[in-house]
């Protein structure tokens, strides 16, 4: 019995971890290439989920089609936001740019409330209700799909950044913007692309999160859990963000179940931060963050 529970907890943890990882990935992508910490990332996730919701329930599109349309729309919205809101801020102090993203977060949340209301909405979950039995453990199918989808997404990203010309240019720009200019890389284009991709992963996270729970304008607060994931993995590490997200997801679930009796309920809410504190003491730049390789 204990074993089945363990499996259940781990899978649920991985599913939540995947969502954290997707949000964290958005943060890291934008931070790496533009050096801006985008506080509106969780709101992009929320916004994407609402758009998917509207496409599926109001326009009656089939789930998969609606989902894809939402992705495309969010890529456009993300690029537009970058061009209209962030680009004019190039060259301004970093703090000012960060405040702009905070403002953007509030605007997005406000707009969502205005259009869709502040009540919780039930997201039409496309996944079968009946649980899947693995090794005697009952697993929610939505969780399995979340993990699978995230895994596929990450493989695609890995291949994109590793082998495609555009991916290599993006990595080069992330590392050294000035030299990227000298190589003739369209740096502004790369900035826009990073916002577009960040919006894409945000939407994926948002749709899965909404099908676990429900839609509401403040669902972006889950993004607070992505922060420890980023810090854990290292602010400038893509795979760090993913692994960080998974670690946070799993430990949070395990702690919530096994430690609840000793430390009281709600322990799962703080686990993430406790882990981060410990990791920070040992490796201040995160598990995978770079201490700069320098050679003179």
């Amino acid at each position: 019995m204990g074993f089945q529970i363990l499996i259940q907890l781990i899978i649920t943890g991985l599913a939540w971890g995947s969502i954290y990882a997707c949000i964290a990935l958005g943060f890291v992508l934008i931070f790496k290439s533009t050096d801006i910490f985008n506080f509106a990332q969780p709101e992009l996730m929320m916004f994407g989920a609402y758009i998917a919701f509207t496409l599926i329930t109001t326009l009656k599109l089939p789930f998969v089609l609606g989902f894809f349309c939402a992705l495309i729309l969010m890529v456009l919205i993300g690029s537009l936001l970058e061009m209209m809101v962030v680009r004019p801020m190039i060259g301004e102090p970093v703090l000012a740019v960060i405040m702009v993203t905070l403002g953007l977060a509030n605007v997005l949340r406000g707009l969502t409330g205005l259009f869709w209301g502040y009540e919780e909405l039930q997201f039409p979950s496309p996944f079968p209700e009946e649980p899947l039995i693995i090794f005697g453990a009952a697993i929610n199918q939505a969780e399995i799909y979340t993990i699978l989808a995230t895994a596929i997404l990450l493989v695609i990203f890995f291949l994109f950044f590793k082998y495609s010309g555009a991916g290599i240019s993006m990595r080069a720009t992330a590392e050294d913007t000035r030299t990227a200019f000298l190589m003739g890389i369209n740096v502004k284009g790369v900035f826009t692309a990073s916002w577009a991709i960040a919006s894409l992963v945000a939407t994926i996270a948002g749709v899965f999160l909404a099908s676990f729970t429900f839609l509401e304008p403040i669902m972006g607060h889950v993004g607070l859990k992505a922060l420890p994931a980023i810090i854990l993995g290292g602010l400038d590490s893509v795979h760090g963000a993913i692994i960080g997200g998974l670690i946070i997801g799993v430990t949070e679930n395990l702690a919530g179940f096994y430690l609840e009796d000793y430390l009281g309920s709600g322990i799962n809410e703080i686990t993430a931060y406790v882990i981060v504190l410990i990791v920070m003491m040992i490796r201040p730049y995160g598990l995978f963050g770079t201490k700069e390789i320098e050679r003179v």
Binding site: S169, R178, L182, G184, I293
Partner: protein
Amino acid sequence: MLQVNNLEAVYNDIILVLRGISLDVPDGSIIAFLGSNGAGKSTTLTAISGLLDYEDGEIMKGTIEFDGHAIHKMDPQEIVRLGITQVPEGRRVFGELTVDENIRVGAHTRRDGKAEVEQDYNMVLGYFPVLRDRLKLQAGFCSGGEQQMMVIGRALMARPSLMMLDEPSLGLAPILMSEIFEIIKRINREEKVSILLVEQNALMALAVSEYGYIMENGRIVLDGPSKKLMENEDVKEFYLGIKEGEERKSFAEVKHYKRRKRWLS
């Protein structure tokens, strides 16, 4: 091919770094561009590459022309596409990328098909055979010499007609330095790439170049055929460290303040 006419540039709207520079790089030549630290050599290159805007600088006056195009108002990527690449000071490899990726990034602006790019890739490895064994290594872990070769190769991948090298000898052992200069000469000859060479090592630079410019305090103070420059008294004393009557100048005897440089009068 490249003509800089009376260029003036400021940083932060106030600091005048270039006070009317003119220089000329003819087709197929190697031009040396010398000067002490802070003279404005790198700023000139930055201006030519179109990057001044991004460093809070601005061209106030003057023009930069390349093959008949006025390039001083163009975006950096357009300038690269026209055929000017820069090998920046301090090498600036992309440390997290592999050597292979570093070289390939240089071909970013190319639109003439995979086969051509592949051919140039092999050409680069032909010039720098050492890099062959390093292709899968992270560039940040390579030695200084290898990194310098990598960035020259990277710049070649854009198939430039003008390559601007900013202190390629910086931090290299003398033997490596002469090897790099040898290769630069070969590239100039074999690939028909004009070269604008910014250097602190005046002796090396004047030896490979045909014509030289000497810059101080944002101005070109002296220019002429490299051979002539090498015989100039001031150049000898201040850049080559050779004084009349002595074999080689000892640093203990340097008395900079004793005599004004003739060209300042």
